[in-house]
Amino acid sequence: MAESGREVWITGIGLVSSLTEGADAHWQALSSTAAARPVVDGTRFAPYAVHPLTPLDFTKQIPRTSDQRQMERWQRIGVYAAGLALADAGLAGDQATLDRVDLCIAAGNGERDLALDARLLAALDDSESPEHTLNRELAAGLRPTLYLGQLSNLLAGNISIVHKATGSSRTFKGEEMAGVSAVADAASRITADQGDIFLAGGALNTEREDLLLGCEITHALATGPYRSVWERSADGGGIVPGSVGAFLVLEASSHAQKRGAAPYARLSRILSERTSRNGEQSATTALRLFDDLSLKPENSDLCVLSGASGVEPVTTEERKFLETLDQRGFDPCVRAWGSVLGHGMEAHFPTGLALAALAISKGAFYPPFGPTEVEAGYGPPAARILLTCFGHWRGEGLALVEPARESAE
């Protein structure tokens, strides 16, 4: 990517979370010296805590109630954030350009009908022929369009329908790494002249028990009092999931300049690997990826936005990786956004990328996101930001975000 004259510019950000909505509001909330307090609901799904979504008026981005009705909440969150990103990039209503926007989406599955599942599980227990009861009750009870709210690629489909972004769409699966893959696909295609303008991102609705059940089966959820991601290992580690919608408009520098779109930042590099984690360790893999970035320590400053999840042992692995950076001549200033916004799964990396682009555009970095020595001290101005995303069970991703060069082709 580095050799090409075509830079990957971030020209639009759409972000909604437990804190607030919109790019500027997030900067305000997260950059003030009075560190943003995470919004945590520890009672509704006890013993689990979640970061519930800030109240949104979905009709602002999804005016038709018929559209809203055909979506589950994760899709509404995503379509809302996607709309913010397109508007932020100056694309809302620009049908000629929207018709060329390619979507790269990170998604899991959508939501089940929890009441139906619970009722049916009880009925099956009492049934003398449960298989027949299942057929009858599902056929009668499943909402016909529910499946469209569950299919991974229907977030993309709904973005095309509501916002008329209709170049193409691809949906990537696989928790955190899906977000890395979606952005990497867009960036690679821009650099190689395989596309000009992309909408990349994802969404997570954490306020549902079927999502929590999937996480609990793999014991990925944190329990106990709320702590930052770096302070959970004593309790066994784990994520506190956060509802979030995070979308970015990624654009070839030449394309952005032609239409007069101002960049927040450029995505200089994005790299990923999937360590087996049986023998090889994530820290080793991440260091290899870091070396591939060929960063020159002009001074020792390095702002790091960490996607650490809190899950162990991978969070400790990431700490090890960050500590080894001094061997490469860097003194990293680390902020883990999961401590304030929660863990966004597929949307986690796009969220961090949005925060990185914001900081680069402001030329400043964030105060600590958690009261821990890992994040001690106030950072240097953000001349470049290393973004990390270690998947909670698989995959390692690194990205480098820097100021856009106006001289780029």
Binding site: N109, L114, D117, L151, A156, S188
Partner: protein, 426 residues
């Protein structure tokens, strides 16, 4: 600008050097192909679970893969492994457990199925709760850790990465029923960029379970012609009434032409190009004017550097739903014009059913086999729809010299992806 190793846009030419297949006609590409060109059907009554009270009771299940008890993840993974192993063996690429490129795989939804939910729910509860509270409490006991693979979205990709030693982060993708074609597009693009010399592109789907069947049934997508299962899937026929769910997996080894030749590999076909276009009209229906499907086909031909008259055969999406087949006809007509009537077309789904996520992969394998063999697979159960005047190859395979094939894949959510394959230039 085009040459044997560079295409019309100066990009590396990409070859297919390995194929693998599992369908309801059998495991292995030779078995499936032999059934396909002789007009056999893999559609049968569902025996995996009782179908009492269901509107549709037939499917193209894959029942001979030695996976018991059935679970979508387990059978999908097993079929994907079988198809990938076959493709890699044919390509003779890499070393044992070391495939020299990334895995790009299309997989079905990762979800707990009813037997899993019942296990989770039914075990004695510490809390005395119900529904999800009870399942969560039981999950905390760590007695159900074996269910993890069903809820991890990239579990099948990870299993194949481990089995075949593919390079880097494996990609798990979903573009609904266009997913298989998308894996080929991603592989093609990566090789053209020079990111890799080879890619393992796989699609797999084994989701014939009660909820899987019922949710398509509730969308009025499935044929209800249960009385004669082998006659239920009837693409482009006037009495077509929906698709037939099926299971299968397809795998292709893609490789830069230069790399394939350098190692003396046999080139089975060239991936000339791919194209995609999103439709904003509706979640399950195309724009009435077919613009997005037309756009996908045109973008594909442009990417491939192929003129409409150069298409010798269309491997149709042809689901056998009233809507799909009509829209596919309209779109093909818009692009191929008068030549459409004389361009042979067939839908493999008439025999193997609709393999959903895997369909683009399965049909890509059949498309390459069509080029290799000079035999057009038929569309069985064909009873012409006068509104869709097409050269639908009926009943049984037809010999033809096939230089270039257009393979179409369309999916819910406005997904339209097409691929053009050609014979290796003489």
């Amino acid at each position: 600008m085009a040459s044997r190793t560079r295409d019309h846009k100066g990009r590396p030419v990409v070859a297919v050097t390995g194929l693998g297949l599992v369908t309801s006609l059998g495991a292995g590409k030779h078995t499936s192909w032999a059934g396909l060109v002789t007009g056999q059907s893999g559609i049968k009554p569902i025996t995996r679970f009782p179908t009492d009270g269901l509107k549709t009771t037939i499917a193209g299940t894959v029942d001979d893969m030695d996976v018991a008890p059935y679970a979508a993840h387990d059978l999908s993974a097993r079929m994907a492994e079988a198809a990938a192993a076959e493709a890699i063996a044919q390509a003779r690429i890499g070393r044992r457990s070391h495939f020299p490129g990334p895995l790009i795989i299309a997989t079905p939804p990762s979800e707990l199925e009813w037997p899993h939910l019942r296990r989770l729910h039914g075990a004695s509860s510490a809390t005395g709760g119900e529904g999800y509270a009870q399942m969560l409490a039981n999950a905390r006991t760590r007695a159900f850790d074996d269910l993890a693979r069903h809820v991890r979205f990239a579990a099948i990709a990870d299993r194949l990465k481990a089995a075949f030693g593919t390079q880097g982060e494996p990609l798990s993708i979903c573009t609904a029923c266009a997913s298989g074609a998308t894996t080929i597009q991603l592989g093609l693009e990566a090789i053209r960029r020079g990111d890799t010399e080879a890619a393992l592109c796989v699609g797999t789907d084994a989701t014939v379970h009660p909820e899987g069947l019922i949710r398509f049934s509730l969308l009025s997508a499935l044929s209800t012609a249960n009385a004669e299962p082998t006659k239920a899937s009837k693409p482009f026929s006037k009495n077509r009434d929906g698709f037939v769910m099926a299971e299968g997996a397809g795998a292709l080894v893609l490789e830069s032409y230069d790399s394939a030749r350098a190692r003396g590999a046999r080139v089975l076909a060239i991936v000339r190009g791919c194209g995609e276009k999103a439709d904003e009209h509706h979640r399950t229906r195309s724009r009435p004017d077919g613009a997005a499907v037309i756009g996908a086909i045109r973008k594909t031909l442009d990417d491939a550097g192929v003129e409409p008259h150069e298409i010798d055969y269309v491997n149709a999406h042809g689901t056998s739903t009233p809507e799909n087949d009509r829209m596919e006809y309209i779109a093909l007509g818009a692009v191929l014009g008068d030549r459409l009537r004389d361009t042979p077309i067939s839908s493999n789904k008439s025999m193997v059913g609709h393999t959903l996520i895997a369909a683009g992969s399965v049909e890509a394998v059949f498309s390459v086999l069509t080029i290799e063999s000079g035999l057009l697979p038929p569309t069985i159960n064909y009873d012409p729809d006068p509104d869709l005047p097409l050269d639908v190859v009926p009943d049984i395979g037809r010999a033809a010299r096939v230089g270039t094939v257009l393979s179409n894949s369309f999916g819910f959510g406005g997904q339209n992806v097409c691929v053009v394959f050609s014979a290796e230039p003489a």
